[in-house]
Amino acid sequence: GESVGLHLPTLSVQEGDNSIINCAYSNSASDYFIWYKQESGKGPQFIIDIRSNMDKRQGQRVTVLLNKTVKHLSLQIAATQPGDSAVYFCAENIPPGGYQKVTFGIGTKLQVIP
């Protein structure tokens, strides 16, 4: 079936460098995308979202890019810090059906090297 997937299961980045985490989705009907961060032993935490009518959205140190042509989503983290070490999940919303059903990818583990 259609699903969200990630290219890299583990990403190691030097502290201070920029990180790019990629995600591929296959459901062309998806209209809303979310990135979550999950630290060890904790629940996923919302980072940033983007609607399908946008191609870029910026937050604090994070930017999400959406390329609907190739069904690709990326999360960019500027000046990566040790506290950014976590598993990052992308999620897509497949509308309606009268409710919001969010499908999560496998996740990418980001390791920040001090």
Partner: protein, 116 residues
């Protein structure tokens, strides 16, 4: 409360026993979700509540799993006759609205279930 609250945070149970996991969503959130996460894996959708109704139970793995929600607030996920493959983190989440794309889903810390 300020966030989604789940209890117990950790549960060790013997194979064959029943367990109940509780979720208190953010006050006023009409939508409530249960997900399962096995060790090192992604999030697996289990069930969704709109108010007290569960329009989508398609993710429940078997008839040993059931869930209910009362007062458009607290939800309980029950696993009967637990098996070792049920060992996982059970995550509850809530969002303000339903039927509208773009609602942020907020997660609890999860209930860690170990079946021995």
């Amino acid at each position: 409360g300020a966030g989604v609250s789940q209890s117990p945070s950790n549960k060790v149970t013997e194979k064959g026993k029943d367990v109940e996991l509780r979720c208190d969503p953010i006050s006023g959130h009409t939508a409530l979700y249960w997900y399962r996460q096995r060790l090192g894996q992604g999030l697996e959708f289990l069930i969704y509540f709109q108010g007290n109704s569960a329009p989508d139970k398609s993710g429940l793995p078997s008839d040993r799993f059931s869930a209910e929600r009362t007062g458009e607030s607290v939800s309980t996920l029950t696993i009967q006759r637990t098996q070792q493959e049920d060992s996982a983190v059970y995550l509850c989440a809530s969002s303000l609205l339903w039927g509208l794309s773009g609602n942020t889903i907020y997660f609890g810390e999860g209930s860690w279930l170990t079946v021995v």
